[in-house]
């Protein structure tokens, strides 16, 4: 009997002691860990870029923009260190989806910056809806991502494909007084949407698009398309992405440049301007980012990028920087508590920046920035090609001057929409 009792007592004391120890440990953990968790545990940011394949040049520039942004903030957002997890999507939708799953399910990131291409963003569109992770697009410009298929977990740090081209359409008709224009653009969604935006605003202001040419994305020779340009047009509107603008302008010059060129922003983007020569001089284009634009914060940004990487920032560099700045502002707004994804997403949608490469930026109710759009001309200045600002359109939204409701009731911009009513005139 006595042995039995002592055994019982012993067991009790031990369980009491362990209980106390457990309580103490929990209390200690609660006291020390709570602030530590909120302030010291790193914020995990997934970054989807392209390091292999045809889009790798843009991916590299995105990485520079993001690296610069994080370095500028001392590697911290809202007082918490940032852990950046970079993945390579190879520019393929299926790989992009798996990389997104890796970031969400394996690494458990708090937010994602990326991906680069529109079809990549569309490939993970349903997925991010299901898992509920905030995604900030640093470059994907597909119209519908913030229009007819808007996603509660997606905001864009850059404009839509057509956003700056509406402005160019109006400028071409009103200021340049162009009447008849031929369009030539990459035969994929980005080219279609940009051209559609230009055509709509241009024709609404009295211009006529008389011919639309669509060379395939990886065509080697633009000659057969350039020879289809009628000799009596006022200008050629060019919408090219990646290295295609460079090749088109070179071949266009070789054919004697039959008409002046107006262009969509990536045709003469700073990212490829450094590889261009005389053929780019005089091209008038529009964009939401120009390395020389005079908006609060851009001078420092452009100078900083030049000093660090030896090149002017372009579409991808500025887009990635801005995406990072958006996230930083949102993290500050929620006091670093990124674990509450709903709150973080709400803060992201309400982001307002008063300076940066794009200057003053606010998001519209659809998650797309309202920002300054500039008309610029490519000139040789300080021994290199630069886009010099001619005119500034402040606070341009993705809907331009159109009513959002009516805009969204129409089909999305495409190869055939809006229909060109003046073909052959």
């Amino acid at each position: 009997m006595p042995t039995n009792t002592s055994a019982v007592t012993f067991r009790r004391t031990r369980s009491k002691a362990s209980c106390k120890a457990w309580l103490l440990a929990t209390a200690l953990a609660a006291v020390c860990a709570a602030p530590a968790l909120a302030q010291q545990a790193p914020i995990k940011v997934g970054f989807m870029t392209v390091r292999s394949g045809a889009l790798a040049a843009g991916g590299k520039q995105m990485e520079q923009g993001l690296e610069y942004c994080l370095a500028e903030r001392g590697g911290k957002m809202g007082g918490r260190p940032v852990e950046l997890i970079t993945v390579d999507t190879a520019g393929q939708p299926a790989t992009t989806k798996t990389r997104a799953q890796e970031l969400v399910e394996r690494v458990r990131v708090d937010a994602i910056i990326g991906p680069l291409a529109a079809f990549e963003a569309l490939a993970i569109d349903d997925y991010i809806r299901q898992v509920g992770v905030p995604v900030i697009s640093p470059s994907a410009a597909a119209e519908d991502l913030t229009q007819r298929k808007q996603n509660p977990w997606f905001v864009r740090a850059v404009g839509t494909s057509a956003q700056a081209n509406h402005a160019l359409g109006e400028y071409a008709a009103k200021d340049l007084k162009l009447k008849r224009v031929v369009t030539i653009g990459d035969d994929f969604a980005f080219g279609h949407e940009a051209t559609a935006g230009f055509q709509r605003a241009f024709e609404d202001n009295g211009g006529k698009v008389v011919k639309k040419l669509w060379p395939p994305l990886n065509v080697a020779d633009y000659g057969s398309y350039i020879s289809q340009i009628p000799s009596d047009v006022d200008a050629v509107y060019a919408a090219f992405a990646g290295g295609n603008g460079l090749r088109f302008l070179q071949q266009y010059a070789e054919y004697g440049a039959p008409a002046k060129v107006i262009a969509q922003m990536t045709t003469v983007d700073e990212g490829i301007l450094k590889s261009m020569g005389k053929e780019a001089v005089g091209v008038i284009s529009s964009g939401w980012y120009t390395a020389t634009q005079d908006v609060p914060g851009n001078k420092e940004f452009a100078a900083g990028i030049r000093a660090k990487y030896g090149a002017d920032p372009g579409y991808y560099t500025a887009g990635a920087y801005e995406a990072c700045a958006f996230l930083d502002a949102a993290v500050k707004a929620v006091d670093g508590k990124v674990e509450d994804k709903q709150a973080l997403m709400k803060a992201l949608r309400e982001v307002k920046l008063d300076k940066g490469p794009f200057g003053e930026v606010a998001l519209d109710p659809y998650g797309n920035p309202i920002m300054t759009v500039t008309i610029r001309r490519t000139e040789e200045k300080d021994g290199r090609l630069q886009n010099v600002v001619l005119k500034t359109y402040p606070k341009v939204s993705q809907f331009w001057t159109y009513d959002p409701k009516a805009f969204l009731a129409d089909p999305v911009y495409s190869r055939d929409y809006p229909p060109a009513r003046h073909l052959g005139n």
């Binding site: 790989t95 989806k97 798996t98 394996r106 495409s414």
Partner: protein, 328 residues
């Protein structure tokens, strides 16, 4: 038969049990991808390994069926299951048509014509924007899933994929052992003699083509349900080449080869890339190594290695004459 199937049963069981070992959905989804890729590679293996017809356009079958199911279950308004059945039926119809065209050629001509057919469908998917969404593809493809079989859950979807893979292995294993399978290999090695003996070479090849197309269509269906998104990229030449790579790396003409090849490619692409930044280079180096060390693929390579080891042990052994493939 049963003894030969045992290793497959073990591997498939291990794949199905991945959700038990890891709570992370990432690995579960990765296993699903391996299974889907393996079904496609098994399908292509019928052509490459047993019919001796190297196709560089295999992606057209998964592509067609994925686009069909995506279109039917989103814009078409069908429920996912009937959309899936219609997609497989539709793919088989088109495959029959393509087979009539493609099987007029063999050898290099067949490679080119299959590639061209795949490019036609790729072009249609890319340019016919009003139906296919162009390079933006079709998104929000619904997965079938009811109370009994909630396929939206990664582990349940994995079981569907592994189950289908098991079916493919059993069906193809039986087919290869059947008189038809032997006849098919006959048309690969000695088409003229087979013809002289009285076999209809074209019909045998056409059956193999349709069998490959059927498993290709199933792959496409699972692909569309898995990614819930289709885009022209899945029919690009690189996509076809990737399946061919799986078959060749694993070992054409073997049953285990495509499975191992698919696992190798999918895991190198998606798992190795977590730790190795230059994963594309790693992929390339791996294939160079396979070609140098095991030109027939991993499975025959290990078979030869085992034979060589067995030969080392007893001192004098009769020299094995390598099998010659003489097309007359």
């Amino acid at each position: 038969m049963t003894r030969r199937m045992l290793p497959f049963a073990v591997v498939l069981a291990a794949m199905a049990l991945v959700p038990v070992f890891t709570p992370s959905h990432f690995y579960v989804n990765l296993t699903s991808q391996v299974a889907i890729a393996a079904i496609g590679a098994l399908g292509l293996n019928v052509l490459v390994g047993h019919a001796g017809l190297n196709s560089l356009g295999f992606a057209v079958f998964p592509g067609l069926s994925a686009y069909l199911v995506a279109w039917l279950s989103t814009l078409g308004g069908f429920d996912p299951v009937s959309a899936g059945l219609l997609a497989i039926g539709g793919t088989m119809l088109v495959a029959g048509l393509f087979g009539v065209v493609a099987l007029r050629a063999t050898g290099l001509g067949f490679v080119m014509i299959t590639m061209a057919l795949c490019q036609i469908v790729w072009g249609a998917a890319y340019r016919w924007t009003s139906v296919t969404g162009g390079d933006n593809g079709i998104s929000a493809v619904p997965r079938p899933g009811t109370g009994l079989l909630p396929l939206e859950r990664p582990e349940v979807f994995l079981w569907l994929c592994v189950g289908t893979l098991a079916l493919a292995l059993i069906q193809l294993g039986r087919f290869f052992d059947s008189p038809m399978g032997v006849a098919l290999r006959g048309t690969r090695d000695q088409p003229r003699r087979m013809s002289a003996v009285g076999y209809d070479v074209w019909r045998i090849r056409f059956s193999a083509w349709m069998l490959a197309a059927a498993w290709g269509a199933v792959t496409g269906l699972l692909y569309a349900w898995y990614h819930q998104f289709v885009s022209p990229h899945m029919m690009a030449v690189t996509a076809s080449a990737e399946v061919l790579l799986m078959v060749v790396a694993g070992g054409a003409g073997t049953l285990a080869g495509p499975l191992i090849g698919a696992a190798l490619v999918v895991l190198l692409k998606n798992l190795a890339s977590i730790w190795i930044e230059r994963w594309v280079m790693l992929l390339g180096c791996t294939f160079v190594a396979i070609v140098l060390l095991m030109p027939d693929g991993i499975v025959p390579g290990f078979g030869l290695l085992r034979a060589a080891l067995a030969r080392l042990r007893p001192a004098p052994a009769p020299k094995l004459v390598p099998r010659e493939r003489a097309d007359v």
